[in-house]
Amino acid sequence: MTLTPVLTAHWDEPDSYTISGYQRHGGYTAVKKALKQAPDDIITLVKDSGLRGRGGAGFPTGLKWSFVPQGDGKPHYLVVNADESEPGACKDIPLMLSNPHSLIEGIIIASFAMRSNNAFIYLRGEVPHVFRRVNSAIKEAYAAGYLGKNIQGSGFDLDVVLHAGAGAYICGEETALLDSLEGRRGQPRLKPPFPAVAGLYASPSCVNNVETIANIPYIVNNGVDWFRSMGTEKSPGFKLFAVSGHVNRPGIYEAPLGITMRELLEHAGGVRNGHKVKFWLPGGSSVPMLTPDLLDTPLTYEDIAAAGSMLGTGTPMIFDETTSVVRAVTGWLAFYKHESCGKCTPCREGTYWLSDVLHRLEEGHGTEADLDKLVEVCAQIAGRSFCALGDAAATPFPAALKHFREEFVQATTTPANESFDPAAATVFAGATR
């Protein structure tokens, strides 16, 4: 399957991030088209396109928009979740760096559709270079009359606020994001009420991922049939696949959903020379790892789920045989422990416990009983935590143990660094660059 550059089509141009670079290739034509339509028609269009949320859960975007009650007299808010912080996920940040105007144009159309006059971009705080890019893009859009009062003479007003987070993974959870945006401590909210009913400032709100919103102008311009000409029935369209790990050309590859991992690997120059895939994760550290025999699975929401994992953010990580799975899982759990917000007991205490035992195993101390205990601890977190981040923390270990039990047993006596030389897994150890 060939690549289908849409969002990424002009990233190689030196001014792709400017408004002139964006407009040179048809930028801001979709918004003019959209503003002439009825807002409900745009919601229907997005529904018909079958676009699914690109933030990880894959919820149908048009349906989500339609949950925002109309004619209720309350202000509505569009909130863009740009808090990309999952280990392995790196697609929204390059997108905002190279093509920020597609996001802004998408925001205008989405806001117009759900009748929101205020939109917010909640950006991960550790990426000031992206903040500067998006901020100047917003300024350009204001100057060009795409934001502000009476946009393009349509009578539609929209202000966009770019807000930098302060470095918390939990703020990628949509209700924690809303709390943080309101100036509170970022912790997930009790649902119901759902954001569509009482979200930001207790008003109907819709939280969408960056890539999801950036898709919108292209769907408006090219239509449902064009969008559905790519992907599958249940996973239509194209996707930014951010391939990372032990591949020769890690990077972002835009391809139709349904491309297989093996095809993506070819585009990425294959596994680094002289090595072979040991395990891979389709979308960030929160999804169960898969083995090389499943490399031919189409990367769609439904096929990856059937294979026992999740498409997640669509950012595959490839690990070759130099990798210690014990070390990898321990690293992820250290992350989840550090990022657990502390609100609910299972995630707060469970990640502490998992991390504690895994660190010990990495050092070569432990028993086989520890492994079964860890599986039970994971089972005590999964499905019992307050938000999905607890479930995510409980995911890596059981999947790793299923495929690599011997390696964990070995870790009860031998430090991971002795079984697997850490230097061998690094970029400089025989990598192509």
């Binding site: 609910c344 299972p346 707060r348 469970g350 010990r360 005590q380």
Partner: protein
């Protein structure tokens, strides 16, 4: 008004019941007698579903759900840990998690023995832990206020304390900080948890994370004998639980009284009890021929008291103070009117007026249960006159705040400035100096027009001539309900018992007439600071003074006979709260020889050869004095002067708070408040010290320039450290400032 509640059918552990729609699963289980373990759930706090202890299985849902946060729907089938393996496993897992970082220092923890974590670890946990790692540790304990100590290791992050502070008290000075296992309760570096209600967080903490400096390491729960009691500090009428170890009160807790204090109380009621034992009078005292007060036997002291009172007879005045039980108040009334034959009786050891006498006789005395807490909650609007609920009746404050936040009750206050308490009730200030209050009442009629509106008048209203008459006219013209909220626990009971000078002289007139036509004085529970007139000089002028007191005071020092009486823990009795609701209590520390005021009065009467009965129906036949308006004093404010406005902070130099330094350290500092224009006129600078002087009294405190405050008015707390002027509101005072 009819309320139709839609019922839904729900099945819990195979038992099908109909409950109102919107009920939480955990509440339904409670109704059925099924205990679902929980930590963060509290019926009076909003659900948070953080601890995950109460997970249950709901048929049709793949994951266990928190029963504290899910409301029932029609046909829902719930299985608790008793009938669902999924629920039991989920709960056991959460309990195991809760204990991995818990220090398990139960043997030295105050909560050990009454700890929900300990108890539920027994029911839902396992005997052995599978966690063999290193526990997270914190230095222990740290102060979040002078009184409240925090042991972060023990905390299970249930957020009950932070939610209480935010949702109930409105003092969100504690909050959860940090992330993950390091999450902890904390305060801002410059703002300790100085809330009047901070002690409630200790009580609702489901572990031993919050303890009080007062009680920490003093006792074990299983050594305590607990008794339900009523609070003697203010007129709110809180139900308390008093815990006694070896005849010593170790602590007091708020007890459950849904119609009154719900499950809360204030820190004064919780911590201010050392006065019960400190400085007590040990035996009767009689003044000998050399003028010295010397210990005497009860028979001798009673004989001397009886002889002296018999001699002064009808020219004896009786001042009882505001802290008597109903029973004691009735005894004083009977003793005064029947044994002594005097009409000069007054319970008001505070600023009072004949206008107030008339007002109370007509509107309050003998009126039974009137406006209730529930009425406050249902009222469309409540007007506060001469009354600052947070300082003067904290449970009224909590209920009004709840009404304002959850029920939409509008609170209006005629006050000199927008107080923190009023702001927390989302109230509206009707700014008025003491000289403007009467006019403000006239202008406030529009606020209490809706049926069910309530006017709450504080005892301070008596300080402003004409104000109570204006209130009386307001409720007559608008039909608003009226309630009088005194500060002290015994005022309403004393009023109903007839200790009001309907045909005699009031406190001030009595004191001034001592040694003149009033020869004798029978005095109980009056502090010399409580009354403007010089009661000590008056007592010295009087021929014969009998003092019934619990502790040595400057009045007992000049009395001829001092008779020690029982404190609240040593007797049974009843306090009538501001609603007119009787709150009775039993003896919690049986003390041989401890006699209540009523018992002592009975003994004196016997020694006089008299017998008296009490008259609970006093007001059925009592003359009600015509309502006379006190003439407003012409308040002319000259150069460098302002009108004093004042009331007591909840926590101050009150005698019943003595001996409790941790509580005192959480009291609000004395400040001088003036409006920006008045500050400019008086050359006062924000933050600099100002001195208020009048009638030879002087008080100094830092200035807070308060925007929106009534002009030409200076406010200073009445009895806080450094601010005790002993003068009523409306006094013209001189104000001078210092440099910033």
């Amino acid at each position: 008004m009819t309320v139709t509640t839609q019922l839904v059918t729900v099945t819990v552990d195979g038992v099908t019941v109909e409950v109102p729609a919107g009920t939480l699963i955990i509440r339904v289980a409670e109704m059925l007698g099924t205990a679902i373990p929980r930590f963060c759930d509290h019926p009076l706090l909003d659900p948070v579903a953080a601890c995950r202890m109460c997970l249950v299985e709901i048929e049709g849902q793949g994951k266990p759900q928190p029963s504290c946060a899910v409301t029932v729907t029609d046909g829902m089938i719930v299985k608790t840990q008793h009938s669902s393996e999924m629920a039991a496993k989920a709960q056991a897992g959460v309990m195991e998690f809760l204990l991995i970082n818990h220090p398990l220092d139960c043997p030295i923890c105050d909560k050990g023995g009454e700890c929900p974590l300990q108890n539920q670890a027994m029911t839902a946990g396992q005997g052995e832990t599978r966690f063999d790692g290193t526990k997270r540790t914190f230095p222990k304990p740290i102060n979040v206020s002078a009184q409240v100590l925090l042991d972060r290791e023990r905390c299970v992050s249930c957020a009950r304390c932070t939610r209480f502070a935010d949702q109930i008290a409105g003092d969100p000075f504690i909050s959860l900080l940090e992330r993950g296992a390091k999450q902890q309760v904390g305060i801002s570096s410059d703002q300790p948890f100085d809330s009047y209600f901070s002690g409630n967080t200790i009580q609702i903490c489901p572990v031993g994370a919050l303890t009080s400096a007062k009680y920490r390491f003093r006792s074990r729960p299983f050594d305590l004998v607990s008794s339900p009691t009523a609070c003697e500090h203010c007129a709110a009428g809180c139900a308390l639980r008093t815990d006694v170890r070896r005849n010593t009160v170790m602590r007091r807790l708020a007890w459950d009284a849904p119609e009154v204090n719900e499950e809360w109380n204030c820190d004064k009621g919780r911590f201010a009890f050392p006065y019960l034992t400190d400085g007590r009078i040990q035996s009767p005292l009689v003044r000998d021929e050399d003028g010295n007060l010397i210990p005497a036997s009860w028979p001798e002291a009673l004989r001397v008291a009886a002889a002296g009172l018999k001699k002064s007879g009808a020219s004896t005045a009786v001042l009882t103070g505001g802290r008597l039980t109903n029973e004691d108040a009735l005894a004083y009334a009977g003793f005064a009117r029947k044994v002594l034959g005097t009409k000069d009786v007054d319970f008001r050891a505070r600023a009072a007026s004949d206008e107030e006498t008339s007002f109370l006789a007509h509107h309050v005395a003998g009126s039974g249960l009137g406006v209730t807490y529930a009425d406050l909650e249902a009222a469309p609007s409540v007007l506060l006159v001469g009354f600052e609920p947070e300082d003067e009746s904290p449970i009224v404050f909590l209920r009004l705040r709840k009404a304002a936040l959850k029920g939409g009750t509008k609170v209006y206050a005629i006050a000199p400035f927008l107080t923190a308490g009023l702001a927390k009730m989302k109230g509206t200030l009707i700014a008025a100096s003491p000289a403007e209050e009467v006019n403000a009442i006239v202008g406030a009629a529009g606020y209490v027009q809706d049926a069910g509106s309530i006017v709450l008048v504080g005892e301070r209203a008596a300080q402003t001539p004409g104000l109570l008459t204006a209130v009386s006219a307001l409720v007559t013209s608008t039909g608003a309900k009226l309630a009088w909220v005194p500060r002290r626990a015994g005022e309403r009971g004393a009023l109903d018992a007839g200790l009001l000078p309907v045909d005699g002289r009031n406190t001030t007139d009595i004191i001034n007439a001592l040694g003149k036509d009033i020869k004798g004085l029978l005095v109980a529970g009056v502090g010399s600071d409580d009354v403007a007139a010089d009661i000590v000089a008056g007592a010295e002028r009087a021929e014969f003074v009998v003092s019934l007191e619990t502790r040595h005071t400057d009045i007992t020092a000049v009395a001829d006979v001092v008779l020690p009486v029982a404190v609240v823990t040593e007797k049974s009795g009843t306090f009538r709260n501001w609603e007119g609701r009787d709150r009775s209590f039993n003896t919690v520390v049986p003390t041989p020889g401890a006699l209540s005021d009523a018992e002592v009065l009975g003994e004196i009467a016997s020694a006089m050869g008299e017998f008296f009965g009490v008259d609970p129906q006093f007001w059925n036949s009592a003359a009600k004095p015509a309502s006379g308006i006190s003439e407003p004093a012409a308040a002319s404010v000259g150069q460098g002067q302002a009108l004093l406005s004042t009331w007591r902070h909840l926590l101050d130099n009150g005698t019943l708070q003595e001996g409790e330094p941790y509580l005192a350290a959480t009291a609000r500092m004395a400040v001088v408040r003036v409006s920006p224009a008045t500050a400019a006129k008086l050359n006062l600078v924000d933050g600099a010290t100002a001195t208020v002087t009048a009638h030879g009294q002087s008080a100094s405190a830092p200035v807070i320039v308060t925007v929106g405050m009534a002009e030409d008015t200076v406010w200073i707390p009445a009895n806080s450290e450094g601010s005790a002027l002993g003068l009523p509101s409306g006094t013209v005072v001189n104000v001078s400032g210092g440099a910033a």
